[in-house]
């Protein structure tokens, strides 16, 4: 990669990751102010995974997302205003307030939906890949999920079929070590999900999920492979969530030292340390992202709730 290309990539990824970071911080603020109904599962600390993977996708591609999905959606270019409005339960949200944080869907961006059931999106994303094969088109579907979802039957069934039929899909595991409070090392003997790929006859790769360029390069290769018809790959991104499982979960089950250790190698600091970007460039990104975020927050806060009658629509379509 030339210096110029490095710079462009750094600008792109810094912007996406910082946008995700700030978006999530504001979601947290809304929660603390009592303006967000229910809960949300924050992506803070994991920004490089979504940024790197989505950065390697084409517009025509698709993603399946999870309960911790804001980062995937922001990175895929979903409208921040409509996202934030949905999270606040407003009529202007992607689902008019019917879905909320865990169910944001944006088909115009190829986002097949976040999902409230751990592993629930894996068969659906696999079906999207089947549709591409069926239609003879070359879209790739990326399916995000966490380490815990890999212990669901849906993971096994889907990866097996995707492998058997060479479906154009990339499985991206965000291994953040914990399923709510349960340390993966307490409930699995082999802690690396990517190693399971061998059992399905496909390639599995474990990488530093906080290194955005590494994520991007690995994803690019796997996506190209899927696009060429050479089948799926499991990419396991080692990362860490800063907060508890959801807002309001203090995450006391994790040692302080562990949190501090991961925070020290978090994705944004990691990218800054490469010195591809000057301080002025970083400030410029921060300023422009801040404007987008504030606009999104204002839009969401000022938007009305849908009328009660809205609850009865969209159960069936004509």
């Amino acid at each position: 990669m030339t210096k110029q290309e490095q710079k462009e990539m750094a600008l792109k990824f810094y912007t996406i990751m910082y946008r995700t970071r700030r978006f999530e911080e504001e979601v947290f603020e809304f929660y603390k102010r009592g303006l967000m109904p229910g809960l949300a599962h924050l992506y803070l600390g994991e920004e490089a995974v979504a940024a790197g993977v989505c950065g390697a996708l084409e517009d025509r591609d698709f993603i399946g997302s999870t309960h911790r999905g804001h980062g995937h959606l922001v990175s895929r270019g979903a409208d921040l205003k409509r996202m934030m409005a949905e999270i606040l339960g407003k009529e202007t949200g992607y689902s008019k307030g019917k879905g909320g944080s865990m169910h944001i869907m944006a088909m115009d961006k190829g986002i097949l939906g976040a999902n409230g059931i751990v592993g629930g999106e894996i068969p659906i994303a696999t079906g999207s890949a089947y549709a591409s094969l069926y239609k003879g088109t070359d879209e790739v579907t990326v399916c995000f999920f966490g380490d815990s979802a890999a212990n669901e039957g849906a993971f096994h069934e889907s990866v097996n079929m995707a492998a058997a039929w060479n479906l154009p899909i990339v499985f991206v595991v965000e291994n953040n070590l914990y399923g709510i409070s349960v340390d993966i090392r307490r409930v699995t003997k082999e802690h690396h999900i990517a190693k399971r790929a061998a059992g399905y006859g496909i390639e599995g790769i474990t990488i530093d999920g906080n290194d955005v360029s590494k994520v991007y390069e690995t994803a690019k290769e796997a996506i190209n492979k899927a696009r060429k018809g050479d089948g799926p790959t499991i990419i396991e991104c080692l990362t860490y969530r800063w907060q508890g499982h959801h807002v309001g979960d203090p995450g006391i089950y994790r040692p302080e030292e562990e949190i501090a250790e991961w925070k020290a190698k978090e994705p944004i600091i990691k990218l800054e340390a490469l010195n591809f970007l000057t301080k002025e460039e970083i400030d410029e990104i921060k300023e422009s992202v801040e404007k987008e975020i504030q606009e999104a927050c204002q839009f969401a806060e000022e938007s009305p709730y849908a009328p009660e009658s809205e609850a009865y629509t969209d159960v069936f379509v004509d």
């Binding site: 409230g116 068969p123 696999t126 079906g127 889907s158």
Partner: protein, 324 residues
Amino acid sequence: MKNIMYRDAILEALDEEMARDDSVFCMGEDVGVLGGNFNCTVGLMEKYGDLRCKDTPISEQGFVGMGVGAALRGLRPVVELMFGDFIMVAMDQICNQMAKITYMSGGQVHVPMVIRMPMGGGRSSAAQHSQSFHAWVAHCPGMKVVVPSSGSEAKGLLKTAIRDNNPVMFFEHKMLYTAKFDVPDDEDYTIPFGKARMVTEGDDITIVTNSIMTIKAEKAIKKLKAEGIGADLIDLRTIVPLDTETIIKSVKKTGKLLIVDEGHESFGISGEIATRIMPEVFYDLEAPVRRLGTADVPLPFSPALEFPLIPDDKKIYAAVREML
């Protein structure tokens, strides 16, 4: 019109819809090489290719979910579950995903998908291959629920199901697969959802049925007719949407209602129908609403134990006689 088996009527519907629309495809266990456990997809793989008649591994949750994903991408999957009992293995994808995605997305997407499966007892298949779960899925908003009672009904309703833009749970009765019926040839023969079929007409009692219970009731009604008793026999066709209008109109005329359904008697279709129509017919009723369902025990293996649990023509006949 031709006289063919129920299973061949289903096959015809699938074949015609696959020929008509490239986005329609079948998927499930043994649907390809074998042509389906009950022979409903025979020849489709040869005719339309592997991708359009896909043999899957035994992964119900996985391939039902793949159907959902493919439907979101504009295809029209017809997923076969080898037995209706197996919905329980795929219930997350059916109830939490398929039925709710349109709603959760605020109407951004629709899920034009059909899940076909056999229901019912009568084959000594014991407790895990004999159940009738149509009421279970009717309880979850977001799915249409179809229970065809004959070959022509199966063909017309399946074609409607495939053309519908919503998820449809299509319950075929396993004891009907080899029964023969007159079935229309017309490729555009469809039956609208939510409009019950008046099978026989009479002034003495209303009998509401679905699926094979319609045929059992017809048999009972023949005997009753010989004894001078006339019944309105209403075959529901679909549980969701439910045609309460036809039932209400009939009960206003007859004053008596017997509901026959193969699901377990408690917490099922019959209780729902009785409650729904009650505000409209309360003052027209001349007797308490009565119901016949499968006894509230798991289906046993031995025919000696199984048959007595399931409603049949004799029980229907006896119930009607008691009500008059």
